[in-house]
């Protein structure tokens, strides 16, 4: 295989999510004539803004070589907290839930990065823990917010006819992209996920970076929680569970390596929109809810296979290009 072709193929594979996106959109457009309206697209982005915000945070943790399964519970805690604070103070209803998110993320990060516990098991544990605490505090009841406070604007307002959550969504994507690509933190984030021994040998203690990544995820999940809360009139403690599947699918479909060190936030965001398109089409086509769940499960599994293929292909490219030169 010639080297130029190999390189092209790798580029193509790394950006294949774009082709998936285009193919799906064309298909949906053929199946439903409402699909290509501006209104429908704003709808898709609006519906998936919380998923997008949370996915950014989860993607960062995966790039760092970890995983966090507790984001659903953190999201629920933050949005319930926001709903509780909303009638009291707009300012606190935004600030404190975000801080809570940071704190809960930091707790995960401390156990994983400083104590060195396995991230999968640790965050599975804190998922239960955070959820259990929330259930105790709320007694499992809906926490009623207030529907005409300014807080409501975050979830329902529009600027230039574009729903406000979309600005949040895009702003967070930009922030996370900038963080991962342009900053020293971002460089060490990838390096930690790829080879933390090399960092150690270069005299860099990357456990801070790792811990901070969980906190940053908590920050983004907290922001997602505020947006989520302001979209709903009352928040149920079980609200977070719905996001677990979508977010994990988006991150995996976006090609973030489950072994760390590889990932593109832009691709994750395209994956979020792909999921949005699929959801939207299912609604437009009137697919019954039960069938929708089966389709989502299927897509999750397909995403894992696709992700695995991508990661393997880049390994094969590596071996080929090495053997060519020696």
């Amino acid at each position: 295989m010639n080297k130029f072709y190999a390189r092209f193929r790798l580029f193509y594979l790394n950006n294949s999510i774009i082709f998936i996106f285009i193919a799906l959109s064309v298909m949906s457009g053929i199946l439903s004539d409402k699909f290509f309206s501006v209104r429908n697209w704003l709808n898709i982005l609006n519906n998936f803004s919380v998923t997008g915000i949370v996915s950014c945070g989860v993607a960062l943790v995966l790039i760092a070589g970890g995983i966090d399964l507790s984001f659903g519970s953190i999201l629920a805690c933050c949005s319930v907290f926001a709903a509780f604070l909303e009638p009291r103070s707009l300012f606190l209803a935004i600030l404190l839930p975000v801080l809570l998110g940071v704190l809960l993320g930091l707790f995960n990060g401390f156990i994983v990065a400083k104590i060195g516990a396995n991230p999968l098991i640790t965050t599975l544990g804190t998922q239960w823990l955070y959820f259990a605490l929330l259930m105790i505090v709320t007694s499992g009841n809906l926490v009623q917010g207030n529907s005409d406070t300014p807080f409501h604007f975050i979830g329902h307002g529009k600027i230039f006819n574009i729903p406000f959550p979309i600005y949040f969504f895009l702003g967070i994507v930009l922030f996370a992209w900038f963080l991962s690509r342009k900053t020293l933190y971002g460089k060490y984030l990838f390096a930690h996920g790829s080879n933390k021994n090399a960092l150690f040998c270069s005299g860099i203690d990357s456990s801070h970076i790792y811990m901070m990544t969980f906190a940053i995820m908590g920050l983004l999940v907290g922001i997602g929680g505020v947006v989520l809360s302001s979209r709903l009139i009352g928040v149920r403690p079980t609200e977070g569970g719905r996001y677990l599947m979508n977010v994990l699918t988006a991150v995996i479909l976006g090609g973030v390596s489950l072994n760390g060190g590889i990932g593109s936030l832009v691709n994750v965001m395209i994956a979020v929109v792909v999921l949005g398109v699929i959801d939207n089409s299912m609604v437009l086509l009137g697919v019954p809810y039960k069938d929708q769940q089966i389709i989502r499960g299927g897509i999750f599994i397909l995403s894992i296979i696709y992700n695995n293929y991508l990661v393997n292909q880049s390994e094969i490219f590596r071996r080929k290009s090495v053997s060519q030169e020696s």
């Binding site: 020293l184 080879n195 270069s202």
Partner: protein, 255 residues
């Protein structure tokens, strides 16, 4: 040629296992030492003690006559002692520039102010490009991820990194074990370039021809003990191999 580093009476125990048994080693400035020995002789362990990965169980390390205690590779690096591990030195998923500047990133300047958290990638790219050209190291692009380079290119880049950081003693553990013959020559050339710049090198290898190609002095470890320390011109590969496999000596670890 003055003394750069001195290791005195080094012991390293792993539980009941005595990996290093009372070893002394002196390294002169700009000297190239070949460290050889059978598998499990303790070569890597001795070098890890020297570079701050492990503390010695007993013994002292002096750098230019001053006693040093290395608590981490960072401490060793600060006085110019750098170890390159078999494929551990580089981050495969970062590009060449990012690797060369790993741990010494240049911050972006905005309004005359250093922004420590932002990276000045352009300047770093320019410098690493120029630097690799000077050392005649060929990579397709400095934007290439290290995992897409050949084994020899990777080895060259990690050695280049040490020059870039003003290392005074570079330790190479089996640098040529996984690369082609042609690339081996390139790595050996780089070692001589290091020497020319006054950098001392310890090369750990089981390939006698590589050792005799570049080393000034050959040190043999056997079961944790130093059994030979001799100028290259006063010995031969055959004699060294005899020392490695322990003909005519009963050296071992007396526990």
């Amino acid at each position: 040629m003055g003394t750069l580093v001195e290791m005195k009476g080094i012991y390293k125990l792993f539980g009941g296992l005595c990996a290093i048994n009372n070893v002394d080693l002196t390294i002169g400035k700009g000297e190239v030492i070949g460290l050889v020995g059978d598998n499990a002789a303790g070569k890597s362990t001795l070098m890890k003690v020297l570079s701050g990965v492990y503390p010695p169980t007993e013994g002292d390390i002096f750098v230019e006559g001053q006693q040093k205690i290395f608590k981490s590779p960072h401490d060793a690096r600060n006085v110019g002692v750098v170890m390159l591990f078999q494929d551990l030195a580089l981050v495969q998923d970062l590009d060449v520039t990012d690797n060369i500047f790993l741990g010494k990133e240049l911050p972006k300047r905005i309004f005359g102010q250093d922004m420590r958290f932002l990276l000045d990638r352009r300047t770093m790219d320019e410098r690493s490009e120029k630097f690799l050209r000077e050392l005649e190291i060929n990579v397709d692009s400095i934007k290439e991820k290290v995992k897409n380079l050949s084994g020899g290119q990777r080895q060259s880049v990690s050695i280049a990194r040490t020059i870039f950081f003003n290392a005074r003693l570079v330790i190479l553990d089996e640098p040529t074990s996984a690369i082609s013959v042609k690339e081996t020559q390139k790595v050996l050339d780089l070692i001589l370039q290091l020497k020319k710049k006054g950098v001392a090198v310890i090369i750990v290898s089981h390939r006698m021809e590589d050792i005799f190609n570049v080393a000034d002095r050959v040190v043999v470890l056997r079961r944790g003990k130093k059994v030979e320390d001799i100028e290259k011109c006063k010995t031969t590969p055959e004699l060294i191999i005899k020392r490695i496999i322990g003909l005519n000596d009963g050296a071992g670890c007396n526990q």
